[in-house]
């Protein structure tokens, strides 16, 4: 584009640019200060409440103690191995389940959106089974896929499938019809039509589905590991709770929280990358 560089010797222009930049800077400072400061304030409050004995130290140990335990654990080779092994196992289940569920969900959503018979055939089933708490059918999945990794991946995939499928479907159905008209009017070949018109027009909804699915996936994998697993982060947390090693439990929670935070960040980045035309 030819947005010619602003003539910086023009004082009026310079003033406007400076004002805009200052506004942006003030906003980003505020975002960091509030975003980090508010949780920090809560931690300090927690610390004070714990130390003064106003909350039960056994179940809500002071943040300083959790940090100390964490550093302790990370310093201890066995503990460290346990935690990182748990993390890897959980991430593997999460990734495989997510990719599987999202792939099938997006494809199903697009097909349902484009082809009425497929929508009529699958729609009622999808909508009827969607509200079932997925963890409730975990026993069935164990029967089908065994007690190992496969049943947990299937559970994650199931949860992600619903989120991405329904979101993609509405994305295709409610995309501006002019896009389909353009594809038809210019006789755009099928492959190009899918990759350059249909999928991009549904992309905002697809990305929303992926973000929601990621949250579901994390909930489901940890829940599954709570009830049936000898490894993974869920097991690490549940096991710590059962032996009443509360600081260790909090450590597990922190790691799960970090995964969640990374997931949200990845989702936002993906969104900015894939949907450059939307204003963020």
């Amino acid at each position: 584009m030819t947005t010619s560089p602003v003539a910086s010797d023009d004082p009026a222009t310079r003033a406007i640019v400076a004002r805009t930049l200052a506004l942006q800077r003030r906003q980003s400072i505020m975002r960091i200060v509030l975003g980090a400061g508010f949780p920090l304030a809560l931690f300090i409050l927690w610390e004070v409440l714990a130390r003064t004995g106003l909350i039960d130290q056994r179940f809500f140990p002071a943040p300083s103690r959790i940090i100390a335990t964490t550093l302790d654990t990370l310093g201890n080779a066995t503990d460290r191995r346990q935690l990182s092994a748990g993390l890897l196992v959980t991430l593997a289940r999460l990734t495989v389940g997510f990719v599987l569920g999202a792939g099938i969900g997006i494809l199903a959503g697009i097909l349902m959106g484009l082809y009425m018979p497929i929508r009529f055939a699958l729609g009622p089933m999808v909508y009827a089974t969607f509200p079932t708490p997925k963890i409730a059918i975990f026993p069935l999945l164990i029967v089908m896929f065994g007690i190992g990794d496969a049943s947990k991946m299937a559970l994650v995939a199931l949860g992600v499938f619903f989120m991405t499928c329904m979101s993609t479907l509405s994305g295709v159905l409610y995309a501006n019809p002019i896009y389909a008209d353009v594809a038809q009017a210019f006789r755009i070949p099928t492959w190009t039509r899918w990759t350059r018109v249909i999928i991009p027009s549904a992309l905002p909804a697809i990305v929303t589905g992926l973000k929601l699915g990621l949250g579901q996936a994390l909930i489901l994998v940890v829940s599954a590991e709570f009830v049936s697993s000898q490894n993974g982060l869920g097991h690490f947390i549940w096991n710590s709770w059962q032996v009443l090693d509360i600081p260790r439990m909090f450590m597990g929670l922190v790691v799960v929280g970090i995964i969640g935070g990374c997931a949200v960040l990845a989702g936002d980045t993906l969104e900015r990358r894939l949907i450059p035309w939307a204003r963020h």
Binding site: A185, F186, P189, S201, I275
Partner: protein, 290 residues
């Protein structure tokens, strides 16, 4: 013009179209449209708002198959052998039809996806038509970074770049300022002189219809029928500004104004004044005999 219309590119016979609204009401949009368009002929379509002009174009573009009557076109006959380098038909829509996830250049390229032309030819055409609509500097911009009129020019360039045998345009210049519109009209005439596309051109602007078309078709208020057809007695290599001096231009312009005004009156529920209607017919007849 008349010579160019030596063979028929498009023949509509008694085309009818109705819509069924949500509450079960029938909206009659087209009530028997019959029209022949010669190859390389430019036909402008005038008519009051809501009379079915866009509906007609959608049917012609193959976007709506639920109509009665017959449409014969070159496409059906497979008449032209050069089908791989030119689209059978391309459309400029009335509303913004740029794809927001693509840059201007990609918007043009995707319109060429159905053609078997190599990359170099694609690039040459994109460059040429972006230049013609004055957007060469904006090839890497996204539509949301453009003004409404610029977006419409992208849509025009996309349709022109496919060098269609049949070009369907739905008020393509309505979003532009009057000066740009005149320049674009002159450019369209020059482009069509080269591509020899058959054009169906919907517009509300009577002077524009006269500037561009070989024939002007006036549609009646809804349900749309063809009310009258007027030959434009000017050669194709016309000057869109100079031609306005010509008495024949002004006479035809007045005739068309009256003809359309009658329909607007009836579409708004006001009975057209008998006097106006008589004059309309009289000037109409003069125009026909020009």
């Amino acid at each position: 013009m008349q010579a160019a219309a030596s063979s028929t590119a498009l023949r509509l016979a008694e085309v009818r179209k109705m819509f069924l609204t949500r509450n079960g009401q029938v909206v009659n949009a087209l009530a028997g449209v019959s029209l022949e368009v010669g190859r390389s002929e430019v036909v402008a379509v005038l008519g009051p708002s809501g009379c079915g002009k866009s509906t007609l174009l959608r049917v012609l573009a193959g976007l709506d198959d639920a109509y009665n009557g017959t449409i014969n076109s070159d496409r059906a006959a497979g008449a032209d052998a050069r089908t791989t380098e030119r689209l059978q038909s391309a459309t400029v829509f009335q509303t913004d039809s740029t794809l927001p996830w693509m840059t201007v250049e990609q918007n043009l390229r995707v319109g060429l996806a159905g053609l078997s032309i190599d990359r170099a030819t694609q690039k040459e055409r994109i460059d040429r038509y972006l230049g013609l609509v004055g957007l060469a500097d904006f090839r890497n911009a996204y539509p949301h970074e453009l003004s409404g009129g610029m977006r419409q020019r992208v849509a025009i360039a996309r349709a022109l770049a496919s060098e269609p045998l049949l070009l369907l345009m739905d008020e393509p210049l309505a979003a532009l300022d009057a000066q740009t519109r005149l320049v674009m009209q002159q450019e369209l005439l020059a482009i069509w002189a080269v591509t020899r596309s058959t054009v169906v051109y919907v517009t509300h602007d009577i002077a524009e219809a006269l500037a561009l078309a070989d024939r002007v078709v006036v549609m009646s208020a809804r349900p749309g029928r063809i009310k009258s057809v007027h030959d434009v007695p000017f050669p194709r290599d016309r000057d869109v500004i100079e031609m306005r001096r010509h008495p024949a231009f002004r006479e035809l312009e007045v005739a068309l104004w009256k003809s359309v005004a009658e329909e607007v009156g009836s579409s708004l529920g006001a009975p057209a004044k008998p006097a106006a209607s008589t004059i309309g017919v009289r000037i109409d007849d003069i125009a026909r005999s020009v």
